[in-house]
């Protein structure tokens, strides 16, 4: 692990554990925007961690920022830190200085249409399931300018919001724009030709999931050592031990898989893109997420099914995140198509050439 990674891991572990608790998670689920938490995160420079230095950021690589995203998943951080990080980075990579504030993104539906009139652009349309759309200052959205794919940065406050949530109570709002003027229209740079924003959104969710899975593991370990049945801690039962061994293996796999994709994201000049690595991460972390959630609940028993106990804040997020920005089967199909088209005898060479 690099020194930067270690520092970020320690910082985020400490910061998030101080900021986040059950009360915070419960309140944010009731659609209360936790502004003090957002302020602290922003003041610590986390939202601008990946932004280029000439845009006021820290220019930290994906493989190191893995730690921020991982720990945000571990602690179920209930603000769009990850969305803001990725959007800001994406803007910065396209030579746009990202604004301060909450930036969310849209990349998993029908792109908006950009209408040109009198030398200016207007956007009308609806985008759905936008993370924290109601609380965001800006939204980075996929759009079409004639037949050309572009990205637009929109003022979120100019949209009409209909609030919604995913099953973990994270805000997923729909936003309607009526002849809104984009703040910026971005042509996709060559380096991003084969990597759409969706790829990075999926990558970020994979890393968050790997953090959440590790959190379940740690919760299970401490709970099973405390909880006594039949006169001894349930951790002493082989049935429990083996379930947790499986969970630990899955946690390790999810973490490595999402690191593979982060490492690839740092090499965005690769002409072939990083779909292969992101598919690996999203598939593997998504599979582990499902397994981790069920083992987590099984080990915790009835208490884990209560609203009062904290386990569900993680498990419900995992079930949400594994579906967002492409489920396992969505990415597996994309990857499988490539593998089959590449030819059975070339798979090994392809894998070893990439990584």
């Amino acid at each position: 692990m690099t020194e930067i990674s270690k520092t970020l891991a320690e910082t985020c572990d400490r910061l998030f554990s101080n900021l986040i608790n059950n009360d915070v998670l419960r309140e944010t689920e009731l659609a209360v925007w936790p502004d003090p938490i957002w302020q602290q995160i922003e003041e610590n420079g986390l939202t601008f961690a990946m932004v280029n230095e000439n845009h006021g950021g820290s220019g930290i690589k994906w493989i190191d920022c893995f730690q921020i995203i991982y720990w945000s998943g571990y602690y179920s951080v209930p603000v769009p830190l990850v969305e803001t990080m990725v959007s800001s980075w994406f803007l910065s990579q396209h030579n746009q200085a990202p604004p301060k504030g909450v930036i969310t993104f849209f990349c998993d539906g029908k792109p908006l249409d950009l209408i040109e009139s009198n030398n200016s652009y207007k956007i009308s349309g609806i985008i759905e399931r936008i993370p924290w759309g109601a609380s965001a200052d800006y939204v980075l959205a996929e759009a079409y300018n004639s037949n050309k794919q572009v990205y637009v940065l929109l003022d979120a406050k100019k949209s009409k919001i209909v609030k919604d949530k995913n099953i973990s109570g994270e805000s997923r709002d729909s936003m309607t724009f009526d002849k809104a003027s984009p703040m910026t229209v971005i042509d996709i740079s060559d380096a991003f030709r084969s990597n759409s924003l969706l790829v990075y959104a999926a990558l970020a969710r994979s890393v968050q999931m790997s953090g959440g899975i590790s959190a379940i593991l740690d919760n299970c370990i401490s709970y099973s050592r405390e909880r006594e049945q039949f006169g001894q801690p349930i951790a002493k039962f082989q049935a429990i031990q083996h379930q947790l061994a499986i969970l630990a293996a899955e946690a390790a796999a999810a973490k490595i898989a999402s690191q593979i994709a982060c490492r690839a994201a740092d090499l965005i000049d690769v002409s072939s893109g990083l779909e292969f690595e992101v598919a690996t991460a999203k598939i593997r972390a998504g599979e582990s997420a499902g397994l981790a959630a069920s083992i987590g609940h099984q080990v915790h028993g009835a208490i884990g099914f209560t609203d009062e106990y904290s386990l569900h804040y993680i498990t419900r997020r995992l079930w949400s995140w594994r579906s967002e920005y492409g489920s396992e089967s969505y990415w597996a199909r994309r990857m499988g198509k490539e593998v089959i088209a590449g030819g059975a005898d070339n798979l090994w060479a392809d894998i070893t050439a990439r990584l």
Partner: protein
């Protein structure tokens, strides 16, 4: 708390050259080796091929000179993963190169090293492991084979079982009881190098369910072993065996045993569009890529001299599950029966792997034992 620490490993520059050398060598040496044969992976025994690998300097390459060429563990990894991905017949030298050699380097005497390592590194001298016994499987500490002091050596009596390719190997490194009784468990065990040509040894192959004769029963009837063939310290056998097992749990052999079936499965969908196949093959690929990086990460830690025992165990557990998933997915996707005699390449590969794969979660520690090892690492035991 973080249960495990595995960091992505970047391969050192220059390994691409080595990789290409191995690929050209395989193409030249085994270009016509059939696809179903390749599916046998590291179970196929070919003394001639092992000798050729030795000639190229690819056996014991991490060992110090004069026995090896002091190459890095990652370079060795590259060679091994290429051999396995190709489906090369590596069984002859496999145990000696992977386990016995490193064991002798760590615990063996100078004389033992001088006498035995050159044979392993040249691919001419083959080793097997004498651990399991008829009544000692997972409970290895309960072994009964014993060695009694006799002047300047030991007299061995007892029986080993499931000894892979004992009938073709030159030496066995056997775990035997040199003092105390079964009740003493881990104490009083030692490792002896036994020349399998010595008098008093009877080796009887045991047909496995596929019809192959890979593993054996080995009986010892008053077999004399000289003192010079005791590995390490008398009574330290258990610690040595545990260290030895760590050499074998995280390599590419732990997730590539069924890779050739995966290749044949992908070939079946050439130029066809099948949603189910695409999804299934994508999933398998994600598992493969992840396991390889986990395994490389452990190799990188091993290189630093640390013993990532728990991490290595995790890889074997996940790797075996992946290997065993491949024939299940193949069966699910393609409506043909496995056929080992007259089938297509795919049907023959499926026929072999389908049957062989049940042994993958038994050899080198059963899944149940591995999970208990992991649980101990998690602080649950």
């Amino acid at each position: 708390m973080q249960a495990f620490n595995l960091d992505l490993c970047d391969l050192p520059p220059g390994v691409d050259v080595l990789r290409e050398e191995v690929r050209s060598f395989l193409f030249e040496t085994l270009g016509s080796y059939s696809k179903p044969n390749r599916a046998r992976s590291w179970s196929a025994f070919d003394a001639d091929f092992s000798g050729r690998l030795g000639d190229r300097g690819w056996l014991g390459m991490t060992w110090p000179e004069p026995y090896g060429s002091s190459r890095s563990a990652l370079e060795r990894y590259i060679v091994i993963e290429e051999l396995l991905a190709f489906g090369a017949p590596v069984a002859a030298h496999w145990i000696g190169e992977r386990q016995s050699g490193p064991l002798l380097l760590r615990f063996g005497s100078d004389k033992q090293q001088e006498k035995l390592l050159p044979g392993i590194a040249s691919g001419k001298s083959f080793f097997c492991i004498g651990m399991s016994e008829p009544n000692s499987g997972s409970d290895l500490a309960s072994i009964n084979t014993h060695a009694k002091r006799d002047n300047d050596g030991w007299v061995v009596n007892g029986q080993k079982i499931w000894t892979t390719y004992a009938q073709k190997c030159h030496y066995m490194i056997a775990l035997v009881r040199t003092s105390g009784s079964v009740k003493d468990r881990h104490d009083g065990l030692s490792q002896l190098i036994i020349n399998l040509r010595d008098p008093g040894i009877t080796i009887s192959p045991i047909r496995n369910m596929i019809g192959d004769k890979e593993f054996n029963e080995v009986k010892f009837d008053n077999v004399f072993v000289s003192d010079s063939m005791l590995v390490g310290e008398e009574g330290n056998g258990w610690q040595q065996v545990i260290a030895e097992l760590a050499f074998e749990r995280s390599g590419p052999d732990r997730f590539l045993s069924a890779y050739r079936l995966m290749v044949e499965l992908i070939r079946m969908f050439h130029k066809t569009e099948d949603k189910h196949a695409e999804v299934a093959i994508g999933r398998l690929t994600a598992h493969l890529v992840t396991l390889r990086q986990m395994s490389l990460a452990v190799a990188a830690v091993l290189e630093t001299g640390e013993q990532p025992t728990i991490e290595a165990t995790v890889i074997k557990d996940l790797g075996v599950a992946f290997e065993q998933l491949i024939p299940e997915i193949a069966h699910d996707l393609i409506n043909v029966a496995p056929n080992i005699l007259h089938g297509s390449d795919y049907e023959k590969s499926l026929a072999y792997i389908q049957q062989a794969c049940v042994s993958f979660s038994l050899r080198g520690g059963t899944t149940e034992i591995l999970r208990s090892v992991i649980a101990r690492g998690l602080g649950l035991r």
